[in-house]
Subunit: 435 residues, 2 copies
């Protein structure tokens, strides 16, 4: 039994090690970040050990040096935006909490010792209650959760401390200077290969759009079974499952938006880059991903149209699907290179033309002999594709809006990206698709 | 311009006040929680003001009393599970970080002063690096993020402090006792009208299922336009939009599961209640919600089937949709009352029978004169409903599994819940639907 337990634990540790390796390989910046935090902590501790500032704070119980260590540990986050956001919130909160504490102490000092303490306790009760409630307001929670927490901590700390009324200003001064040393260390270490939340957000949104594009580009071949071998189909199927992650990307995107707003100009992003607009693009992308889920269910459904019917709808459906896919991939590529992509619009027009083409096809009388039950699955795919065309147009439009808002460069300046599929399909004249 | 600014700010404050009022009205427990935090902070500060433990920690700069205040501010979370989780992580992390700190100090004390400090800095670098990386591993992040943070803080604190080698044990002892006072206060205040994450999770999952059920129960009437007045339809449409929130519920559910695991037996939940199973139910519910999104798009699509065709499919589609809706509502009601619901299975069977019925209908030759384009939208709704029937079966099955795992009581013991629609539809014999 004990051996079993040991084996089980050994297995858990092994799994954890494998997972760590995978995480490191997927995003080496995570390893780098860990090293940076270690470096910052070592630097701060050495600064106070050798008393580099000759201020004597490092003597005694290490009370003040502790604040520097604490600051580094708490403030140093993965992205620059998160670090700045936490630092600013912490600083403001300390000042506000401190001012409230000193103010409350001053306002109650006229009273006797016991009366004063009871009044102070009432004020603590009130301030902590309000600050805690502030954490429930979604807008404030997203950006200032940490602010309220630190207001409570600082105010409580000063209230307890001034109960005995000791050297408050000196303490505040010493704390401030050690905290500043902490911030400075974090700032220096941040600048070694910085991770920008804004860049991550931009890449994430573009990758999500690209994932949906790849799904749609592959869908036609998969559904109408024109893929070459079974092995390859298996691989494509696996890559198509990527849309599931897109559906659940909301919370990650929203936190990245909040971090990105704190960041200064970096890379291709100017000041006042329209970060909020990414939430909008993300919402359209997720809506589209949801539709793909319904489409994906059609792939494995037990209701399947006979091959004769599929064959008739194949051309129009494949064209719509791959045009939508190319439009999304083109839009994603435009985002990545921060250029306006004119090709995306052309693909959307082609997809819309494909939808009209499909409607014409469905009105022709060649279907008279088909049983409705057989047509039903194919009709569903067709209708979903029509819905997806309008979704795709929404996504592409919102990417264009981003291009306008953040002044992407013109496509002429940068050579557009062509995948193999692009080259084939872009060259189809629209008239040919509409036929 | 300045006036504009003042007006803008006044408006923002007013909005915030309105929002606060709404949040308070929606969930009065949030107001109560704020009061509880205020109470705990006031209690701790009074304890140290009046030196109730006669230990003298409250004298001096309030250094030790501060830990009690800090503990209350940081550990007191909304739900019991979150509070316990944070408290346990914090305590363990303090012990581990402290032990590492003392150990590192002991291991390097043989060396000279400068050599020792450099070795300590190396150890800090190593430990902080590893602990920071640990925060990137998803499993550990979900449950132990706070643990790693506090290990870093405590270790750094002790390393800096022991650089000058002062009264370490005394400090640890004092810190421990003040932290315990903080925990005790939090524990007492938690027990005033406790908020259980487990209960919230259970309610959330049941409510989500119910929302989807309501959508489906209303869908048939909405799509086939049998609703009475335009006003009422508007109201129903608005209530149907609820499914959107379900799609984005993943992150909330996952954090509630993590909190719930820390909670002791409470209400109807035993020890080892299968909290992980809620993630599974949630996943099926979200999958179903995604399908409803596609269905919802059919409501407002510009491709609509002519009324003749709708009329023919109306009965079967409405039956499927409302049976699915009732199955989900019944399952949700079963979860709420923690009883096994046999009616949900009956509704699922009815819905499956409805799907077969629809297939039969689609095979009859009466459709010969209909244009395919006209049939297409109705066929899509029908196919989506068939997909939704299987999704509904998944959700209901997973709720049954939960009932088995957590030993819900039998339905006979509790009178089942009947909505008006239930009474009408349950009484339809399956044979009648299959016709």
């Amino acid at each position: 039994m004990a051996l079993e337990n040991v084996k089980h634990r050994a297995k858990m540790v092994m799994n954890m090690a494998t997972e760590s390796k995978k995480i490191g390989a997927e995003d080496p910046r995570k390893i780098l970040h860990s090293l940076k935090v270690g470096l910052a902590m070592a630097a701060v501790s050495l600064i106070y050990y050798f008393d580099l500032f000759r201020d004597g704070y490092s003597t005694g119980s290490g009370l003040y040096a502790m604040w520097a260590v604490n600051t580094v540990a708490v403030v140093f986050e993965f992205s620059i935006g998160a670090t700045i956001g936490k630092g600013v919130n912490r600083t403001l909160a300390t000042v506000v909490g401190g001012a409230l504490g000193v103010g409350a102490h001053g306002a109650t000092s006229f009273a006797g010792n016991t009366a004063e303490s009871i009044m102070l306790a009432f004020i603590i009760f009130f301030i902590c209650g309000v600050a805690t409630f502030g954490r429930f307001i979604p807008k404030l929670k997203a950006r200032n959760d940490y602010f309220f927490l630190i207001v409570i901590v600082t105010y409580g700390l000063i209230a307890v401390s001034t109960f005995r009324g000791e050297k408050l200003i000196e303490m505040a001064e010493k704390r401030l200077s050690t905290v500043l040393v902490g911030y400075a260390t974090v700032l220096v270490c941040c600048c070694i290969c910085p991770c920008w939340a804004g860049q991550d957000l931009h890449t994430l949104v573009a990758t999500n759009i690209d994932t949906l594009g790849t799904f749609l580009a592959d869908f036609g071949d998969e559904y109408f079974e024109t893929a070459n071998s079974n092995d390859k189909s298996h691989e494509i199927r696996a890559s198509m499952e990527g849309y599931r992650a897109v559906i659940n990307s909301k919370s990650v995107e929203e936190s990245l938006v909040n971090f990105a707003k704190w960041e200064p100009r970096h890379g291709k992003f100017r000041y006042w880059h329209p970060w909020d607009h990414y939430v909008k693009i993300g919402a359209f992308t997720r809506e589209c991903a949801c539709k793909l889920d319904a489409l994906h269910a059609c792939l494995d459904s037990d209701m399947q149209a006979p091959s004769g019917i599929r064959e008739r709808m194949k051309e129009a459906c494949t064209a719509m699907s791959s045009e939508c896919g190319n439009a999304l991939r083109e839009a994603a590529q435009g985002m990545r290179t921060m250029t306006r992509s004119a090709l995306a619009d052309a693909h959307v027009s082609n997809a819309e033309a494909g939808a009209n083409n499909l409607k014409l096809l469905l009105q022709t009388p060649v279907w008279g002999d088909a049983r409705l039950l057989d047509v039903c699955p194919a009709a569903t795919v067709a209708s979903l594709l029509v819905q997806i065309v309008s979704c795709t147009a929404d996504v592409v439009d919102s990417v264009h809006q981003l291009a306008n808002l953040s002044k992407f460069s013109n496509p002429n300046e940068v050579k557009p990206h062509h995948t193999h599929a692009d080259v084939v399909l872009v060259n189809l004249p629209i008239g040919n698709v509409e036929r």
